[in-house]
């Protein structure tokens, strides 16, 4: 029943590649943003909060269209990158940027939750014993919020796998180059004669999502146990 063409396999591999790259790219920035929001007070914090969470509520197609206008040939970022010979639109890198933008709030939320659960006294102790803020960050905050980081990364990875609305606009729908699983399914679903192909790929999407969420659960449980021990 499961019939996958070579193009479908490419779509699956591309989806994994895009989701992984987007998550890895977003991690340092997400960690820094979460740290800013938990441990720092500054002007415009509310604004930053709104900005970070905006992709959560904006329709992905709006994000895609903004990215297209921004990174496109006539966009200001696009023109700047063009001078360096970098082109994003209609490449797999555009899919990475779309996924990273849409998944970013999920990552920050989880990392924040992890950081907020850290006992503040530990941080103050480390500071009073002479550790610099950066040492505290690496040796206290990072290990103690690892659970939130892992949870956030797996959630973001899962969200990136499912990214459709922003991706189809900035990356196009080019088989073998930018066609991820959701885009391939969309293509099949728009043509009634390929229902079986659509369903096969849907099944693959379900299996991958279940696997990722399963890993997410196991990881967070293990860490919970470690913390209890």
């Amino acid at each position: 029943m499961l019939s996958l063409t070579a193009e479908d396999i490419q779509a699956i591999l591309l989806s994994l590649k895009v989701a992984l790259t987007a998550t890895l790219l977003a991690l340092p920035l997400g960690f820094a943003t979460a740290w800013l929001m938990v441990f720092r007070s500054f002007r415009g914090k509310v604004l930053l909060e709104v900005l970070v969470n905006l992709p959560l509520t904006l329709p992905p197609v709006v994000i895609g269209y903004f990215l297209l206008l921004l990174l496109g040939k006539n966009g200001w970022a696009g023109r700047f990158l063009d001078a360096w010979g970098i082109h994003f639109i209609f490449t797999w890198k555009a899919a990475v940027i779309a996924s990273a933008t849409v998944g970013f709030p999920l990552l920050v939320r989880s990392v924040r939750l992890g950081m907020e659960s850290i006992d503040r006294q530990l941080i103050e102790t480390s500071r009073s014993l002479g550790a610099r803020w950066f040492d505290t960050l690496i040796t206290v905050v990072l290990p103690l919020s690892i659970r939130g980081i892992l949870a956030g990364s797996s959630l973001m990875f899962a969200r990136s796998l499912g990214e459709f609305g922003a991706t189809i606009i900035v990356a196009g729908n080019i088989p073998g180059i930018t066609q991820t699983i959701p885009l391939a399914i969309y293509d099949y679903a728009s043509s009634p004669s390929s229902t079986m192909m659509a369903l096969s790929l849907c099944l693959v999407a379900v299996v991958i999502s279940v696997l990722v969420l399963f890993v997410h659960e196991v990881l967070s449980r293990n860490i919970e146990k470690q913390e209890a021990a």
Partner: protein, 249 residues
Amino acid sequence: MLQSIRRSAILLLLFLLTSAPAMAGELNLSVAASMKEVINELTGNYEKTHPGITFVKNFGASGALAGQIENGAPADLFIAANSEWMDYLKGKNLVDRKSKKTFAYNTLVFAGSTGKKVTSMRDLVKLDKIAIGSPKSVPAGEYATTAIRNAGLEQQVQGKLVMAKDVRECLMYAELGEVDGSFVYRTDALQGKKAKLLFTVPQKLYPRVVYPMALTVKAATNREAQSFHAYLQGSEAKSVLKKYGFVLK
């Protein structure tokens, strides 16, 4: 408090249940994306002279529309951008054979806002990115792929093609300059602001672009659907089609 919540929930449920059946005088149209302006103008005129009739219009790629109709989406009239998807529904006995008529014809062109000189199919080789509709579901993309194949350029343009979800998205990419040009219908190219018609694809390279229309089987006995179907074959419809650049014969 709790009771009033429950009461309003029941009211809401009743409202949702009773509003589901289609209202009298409501016609559901499923129309190929490239016919959007024509159908909007025609239904606007029709509503003025036929008070009580309202239209629910669903525009999209013909393949997607056929799939929706096959799966039971409400549709009284289907206008496709090729015969394939009309025949597909005919084969499933979902459209009324007797009401199948040719609504209009169109031609395939290449449009773009590129500074490069593009005047024939052979010039496509010089370009970096070319948008076509996704050939699996967008007829314009299918015609474009056929034309490219018959021109013997399949190998050369591979890797340059960007598949768009419908013909209007092709035009949008060309307008923004994200692609050098797009294969679109002549009628779409005429709507372009920055994207200009660069050349007409020779008719010998692809089958003629036909827009068949038909009533669905369940609408075949509906008077209002029949009368709108007749209106679409009348002189007013013809002049609107002509205005937007469609070919009638």
